[in-house]
């Protein structure tokens, strides 16, 4: 047994203790400075939201923050009556959820394979995946447009889902590979010896332990598909297949040219567009934090 001398133990404990809080004028100034910076940062992120809130409930919204001059909920009603926003919203939900399911299924299997199976030149495969991630998406616009046309994937849900999944896969495969690396191999070896096949051991033992990682993958895939606009613009020009970012973009563009910009309508759309993001974030925040720490402790 290796006994640590008592003195060293004490020293180690002293190191770990929090620093005593500084008192007096210097301490107060520091407190003020820290909080002032904190407030500025908060304001920077909060002000746009405040505008959204005030504009969405204002019949005469302008491009600057003001308390609603003519409070109303008509903006929300109009986006559904005049802009068919219900259909658009459903399209977005369907595409994002389908992308999420496809991504989770794929990264679970790909990440596990790259983590566990000895492939020749596995490092090259991994670098290749990383290279794909570093490609600017705009550079792939033209080939993706051509490919989608050839395969008949323009103006289809399937095309959008495949492209959105492809955008997210490289990073999430890396993430899941590292996550699987952190799960001890002995666990699945024990399951094999207990009589399970490789696949059943993956499903019953490894995947439950990978839940935090899969949670992040699901959350990120959903949010990315929800927010993606470039590929939607390239692939979709049928109104019945529009997703929220495209509808939003068109609402801003078409109105700007002819009539007065409908700021209230745009703000109302933005608020509804943000809601699912909030829901996904709060529903999965504990999983996400655990997954980002990459820890399987306490499961």
């Amino acid at each position: 047994m290796t006994a640590i001398p008592a003195q060293e133990q004490l020293a180690a404990r002293a190191d770990a203790a929090p620093l005593p809080r500084r008192k007096g004028r210097a301490g107060r100034l520091e407190w003020l400075a820290v909080h002032a910076v904190f407030l500025v940062v908060c304001a920077f992120f909060l002000v746009p939201f405040l505008w959204l809130l005030s504009a969405a409930f204002d019949a005469k919204a302008k491009a600057y923050i003001a308390f609603p001059a003519q409070p109303t909920i008509m903006n929300f009603v109009r986006i559904f009556t005049d802009y068919d926003f219900g259909r658009v919203l459903l399209n977005s939900v369907f595409v994002s959820v389908a992308t999420m399911i496809l991504v989770v299924f794929t990264v679970a299997l790909a990440g596990y394979s790259l983590s566990r199976i000895d492939l020749r030149r596995k490092d090259w495969v991994m670098y290749g995946v990383l290279l794909l991630q570093t490609m600017p998406i705009a550079a792939t616009m033209v080939p993706i447009y051509g490919l989608a046309r050839q395969l008949g994937l323009r103006n289809s849900y399937l095309g959008l889902i495949l492209v959105h999944a492809a955008i997210e896969l490289p990073f999430l495969i890396w993430l899941m590979k590292n996550f699987f690396d952190s799960i001890p191999r002995h666990l699945e070896e024990a399951a094999w010896l207990d009589g399970r096949s490789r696949f059943r051991a993956l499903v019953e033992i490894v995947l439950p332990l990978a839940r935090p990682g899969l949670g992040i993958a699901a959350g990120l895939a959903f949010l990315s598909a929800w927010a993606e606009v470039l590929m939607v613009v390239i692939l979709i020009d049928q109104d019945s297949l529009k997703t929220v970012p495209l509808a939003f973009y068109q609402a801003m563009r078409t109105q700007g040219g002819y009539t007065e910009v409908q700021y209230g309508v745009i703000a109302a759309m933005a608020i509804i567009y943000l809601l699912p993001v909030m829901v996904v974030f709060f529903a999965s925040r504990r999983l996400m934090v655990r997954g980002l720490i990459g820890s399987t402790r306490g499961l």
């Binding site: 047994m1 001890p184 002995h186 666990l187 070896e189 024990a190 399951a191 094999w192 010896l193 207990d194 009589g195 399970r196 096949s197 033992i205 439950p208 332990l209 399987t296 402790r297 306490g298 499961l299």
Partner: protein
Amino acid sequence: MADVEYDRVWKRFTSQTAAAVQGLSLQVPDRELLVMLGPSGCGKTTALRMLAGLEEPDDGDIRIGGKSVVGLEPKDRDIALVFQSYALYPHLSAHDNIGYPLKVRNLSKTEQEARIDRVAAMLAIGHLLPRRPGQLSGGEQQRVALARAIVREPRVFLMDEPLSNLDAKLRVHTRTELKTLQRELGTTMIFVTHDQAEAMSLAHRIAILSAGELQQLGTPDDVYDRPANVFVAEFIGSPPMNLMPGERQNGSVVTSSGWRIQLATDVAGPSGDVTVGLRPEGIEIVGDGTSDAQHAEVVAVEPFGSEVIVDAKLGDQSIKIRTAPDIRPAPGSTIALQADPAAVRLFDRETGTALT
């Protein structure tokens, strides 16, 4: 219940230059408790993993109950392995961990419960069943891992250093329990460890490995009293055997420090350079007047309660002597030593192989 046979088994990893296991041949009869012993990196764990099916041998054959298992999936070998890390499923309770292999075998619920209860009672872990591994101490996790292995009633038990994560006291206690358990179950067991005391206390037979090669296979008494080579002589015993360069001259041997030791009459072999091996208890501290006694200077005295180890210097050679607890020569003083001729072991100076 089955016997196990390694037949000229080789295993090479691409990351290493030397083969991890080199031509291992070994037979473990049914119901035996065999300990594979060796320093880390000697290939003992690889040998065990090949038997379990977690590694495939490059060459040679491994048989269980007379049938080759090479190429068989781990799940089809009917072997239980207790890992050093225990490998309990963290998301399942102790109860479900133990029950997992039974669930896999599609036993009826009542049969499953009956077997879990029986094993839990045997290992006194009934009160731990609802808890998850994270809520168990190291010793408790170890017992749950053992229960998961036992509950299946496998043909062979494999243990990969299962005691090394326990504290010293619990380790000795569990060692005794394991030995009793193996006798009661009557299942063949192969136990891997680097701890020679653990090996000596548990094993029916010990297989000592070094650098992928089997050095000696024998009972604890065999390997202690008649080590096959210098490696075994130094690895087994605490303190290990004293080894001194020497020269054989007919009926006696003279060490490089000039100590002439009479050999037992039945020692055969040619004269010449040898390595002389003497266990610490094969040397006696005698009265000054004794004929052919060798003088040595005491360096240190280590009392262990039941015995005393005396470190002495014989010329430039340092040796250890095991004596009764009441013998305490002062450091710096001179003592007279006499070797027991029956305890002398001779090894080839070049190859290290035993000559006697």
